[in-house]
């Protein structure tokens, strides 16, 4: 649709990551459309959207056709919209609680998602149970939407396990730390879906609004777009036309590196060179994200092959709790993006339509606080695993080297039994010192 957004400052922010100081406030007056054209660097890229920064809903036929359920105006639509709102609010509350838990020494590290709630909730809401997600380490709202409990979400970050959940129980792999590696896993999984369908062991769904085969979705960030694995994922997915969506949350920053350091052109432009359809969406517009993800999944499910989605959003917090963004970006940039807050935007839209009352807000806030309280209680109650569990699951089948080393370490730990009264916990220097001259 034609853009009516005259100012480019919003897009300057989208592309700049931070060096620029323009603010987004004042660039929209409630009369602008959500979808915009962008004059980034070497080429234009249209950013699609349906909710502007004031929460005003604008028509876009290409997106609206994927939003008929939320636009229906009935109780079911209201419930869906309130569900999106609650998922975003709860995700932010979990995020805040996790940051607090890290500050209090209960977590080793936490990578906050604040600012990216719409990109995550919107995209994850489009998924079916039989889809499979390969994510990076910041997709907490996606994980929660897949069914991961908040406590399980935090296990890894407490340092008690490499994995908080069984991937097959929720249709989502455990977080990937190596940047971009998971993009290829999604392609392979999608190739497996394709093979399953051809072998007749999986039948495409029929008779629903999201007919077709399951799909694999990989979440990456803007930094990952420079990785060889992500570029290889494009190549392989395009060659095999697998049911796959590569969903990039361009949150403007890879720790301290702005997205302009990764690419002189909008990231979405990468897709066409690989022969993959690409769409750039306002990642802080949950409805637009839902729409483009539904379209991408529909293409995947019905034999149309892979799609690349660039969701333009913003990491409002640090990269992790170990990071200090004041060293590399201006506070004014954060202020500008706060004007585009994804939760406030949806709230404004819902309030204007009478779909979000004070009572609703209070209820959602209470629900979020309850999740946070449950989370805190659950996390602090997580016990440290037993020492010998480090030898578990190194191999799926018996391996004599690991078995021998397990026995060696067990015998070593046994040596502390007298001093500590236990046989398997005495691994600290203090315990060793307690042995004194015996050792």
């Amino acid at each position: 649709m034609p853009s009516t957004m005259g100012s480019t400052s919003r897009d300057d922010l989208s592309r700049a990551g931070g060096a620029r100081t323009e603010t987004a406030s004042g660039t929209t007056d409630g009369t602008t459309a959500g979808s915009t054209d962008d004059g980034w660097g070497g080429g234009a890229a249209r950013t699609v959207g349906v909710l502007d920064e004031k929460g005003v809903r604008h028509p876009d036929p290409a997106l609206d056709r994927w939003l008929t359920d939320v636009d229906a105006g009935d109780q079911e639509a209201r419930a869906t919209l309130l569900g999106l709102y609650e998922d975003m609010v709860v995700a932010r509350r979990i995020d805040a609680e996790a940051t607090a838990l890290q500050r209090q020494g209960e977590l080793a590290l936490w990578p906050p998602l604040q600012g990216q709630e719409a990109a995550q909730v919107g995209s994850a809401t489009a998924l079916r149970d039989d889809d499979f997600v390969f994510s990076s380490y910041r997709e907490h709202a996606v994980a929660r939407r897949r069914g991961v409990t908040p406590v399980d979400l935090l296990r890894v970050w407490r340092g008690v396990t490499a994995s908080g959940w069984d991937p097959y129980s929720v249709g989502m792999a455990t977080p990937q730390v190596i940047i971009g590696a998971q993009a290829l896993h999604g392609v392979g999984y999608a190739l497996g879906i394709q093979a399953d369908v051809e072998r007749g062991v999986v039948a495409p769904v029929t008779g629903s609004s999201d007919d077709g085969t399951p799909a694999a979705v990989a979440y990456v960030g803007d930094g990952a777009m420079s990785q060889g694995d992500v570029n290889e994922a494009f190549v392989f997915a395009a060659t095999w036309q697998v049911p796959y969506v590569l969903f990039c949350q361009n949150n403007q920053w890879a720790i301290s590196e702005p997205v302009t350091l990764q690419s002189p052109v909008p990231l979405v432009q990468r897709a066409s060179g690989f022969g993959v359809p690409g769409v750039r969406v306002d990642g802080n517009d949950v409805l637009a994200v839902l729409a483009v993800t539904r379209e991408a999944l529909h293409r995947a499910r019905t034999g149309g092959g892979p799609t690349f989605v660039e969701a333009v959003t913003y990491r409002m917090g640090p990269h992790t709790t170990a990071d200090d963004p004041t060293r590399y970006r201006d506070a004014s940039e954060l202020d500008a993006w706060a004007e585009r807050d994804p939760i406030a935007r949806l709230a404004a839209y819902l309030r204007a339509g009478g779909l979000l009352t004070d009572d609703d807000e209070a209820r959602v806030r209470e629900a979020a606080d309850a999740v946070a309280a449950e989370l805190r209680a659950g996390v602090v109650a997580i016990e440290d695993p037993t020492p010998l569990s480090v030898f578990d699951h190194v191999y799926a089948e018996p391996h004599p080297t690991v078995a021998a080393e397990r026995a060696e370490h067990a015998a070593y730990l046994e040596g502390f039994a007298d001093a500590t009264g236990t046989t398997t916990t005495g691994t600290t220097t203090t315990d060793r010192a307690a042995q004194g001259a015996d050792r």
């Binding site: 069984d166 290829l184 999608a190 290889e232 699951h393 191999y395 690991v402």
Partner: protein
């Protein structure tokens, strides 16, 4: 049991065919493996037989191949990946070492990744740069991987099938110098009748020296045993077959009888498989040793150009020199034939 005379390369193909017939989730992926049948023709005829969806020509990106295999295995498949040449595996290193090897542990056992990585390995064939590498130590050093190296056509067929059936990822080294050596093979041998995948095998009995090796150098070691017997020395040759785990029991039992150990491989010496074996033998058989273990290996240099590769690849004379050293007929110690202290 019906045996046929097959080259090692053909035996590998026969093993693959058997595995694909037995299990519809076995898929083969790699570069040029379809219509061409692979640069060494190991997959010759498989695409015609099983179709392009199970014998998949991939784009030319090794990390992409391995990352795809991880995803396929996640979905329940048993991918067999061909890395075209040993030196091409390094660009897939993260997907092998950080992803494939660790995923079972990372998911507390929920996810199994039964991926087999076939790699034509080592030199001695006058090949171009990056076509003669011996990268086994990197993978032996990586928890979560199993590493095997076959030396005979029968092992080529059966160990490959065992690797594919194994629920762990397996790096499967194929000695490219031996691809065209023929032997009697039963490609359909019941796997229960074959020696387990992680075990070594005594391929020539002997009393004076234990000579441990794998892959293409099993043949060199057997030649050395024959040559040494002419001089009255009895060499016991052990084909490791598996580099992770290493069958230390078989090695130790032999060294306790012979009192002397020579380890032979083509890969660089420093922190190589020979170093691990010499260490464990020293720990477990110290009081039985008549001499320090000797390593006959490639040097710690980049693999040389073809005209110079005989300086890197141990041959019969270098093995016999190593045997002389462990018997005290030449100055002892690895690489110290001139009596020069090295590594100080």
């Amino acid at each position: 049991m019906t045996t046929q005379t097959l080259t090692l390369a053909k035996a590998l193909g026969a093993g693959l065919r058997r595995a694909m017939t037995d299990d519809p989730t076995v898929m083969v992926l790699g570069e040029d493996i379809g219509r061409l049948g692979g640069v060494y023709r190991v997959t010759d005829g498989l695409q015609a037989e099983f179709g392009p969806r199970r014998v998949v020509d991939t784009p030319l990106a090794e990390s992409g191949i391995l990352g795809t295999a991880v995803g396929l295995a996640y979905r329940g498949y048993r991918p067999v990946v061909e890395i075209q040449f040993d030196g091409f595996v390094y660009v897939a290193f993260d997907q092998i070492v950080s992803q494939l090897a660790k995923m079972h542990a990372r998911t507390n056992g929920a996810v199994k990744l039964p991926v087999t990585i076939r790699i034509p390995v080592a030199g001695g064939i006058g090949a171009a740069e990056h076509h003669s590498e011996s990268p086994e130590a990197y993978f032996v050093h990586t928890a979560g991987l199993r590493v095997v190296s076959v030396a005979t056509p029968q092992d080529a067929a059966t160990v490959l099938r065992q690797a594919i059936a194994c629920d762990d990822p397996v790096v499967f080294f194929e000695p490219k110098r031996r691809y065209h050596v023929k032997g009697e093979v039963d490609p359909d041998l019941p796997l229960d009748d074959a020696p387990p995948m992680g075990t070594a095998r005594v391929v020539a009995p002997g009393d004076d020296v234990t000579l441990v090796t794998f892959g293409s150098h099993v043949a060199t070691a057997l030649d050395a045993a024959v040559a040494a017997s002419d001089e009255g020395t009895s060499i016991e040759v052990i084909d490791l077959r598996s580099l992770s785990p290493i069958d230390h029991d078989t090695i130790a039992a032999s060294v306790r009888r012979t009192g002397r150990l020579v380890v032979l491989h083509e890969g660089p010496r420093q922190a190589g498989v020979g170093a691990e074996i010499a260490s464990v033998v020293t720990e477990r058989c110290f009081e039985f040793l008549e001499a320090p273990p000797v390593r006959v290996t490639g040097y710690d240099i980049p693999y040389p150009p073809a005209k110079l590769e005989t300086n890197q690849v141990p041959d019969l004379d270098r093995v016999l020199d190593g045997v002389d050293r462990v018997l005290g007929r030449a100055p002892s110690g690895s690489g110290a034939t001139a009596g020069v202290e090295v590594g100080a």
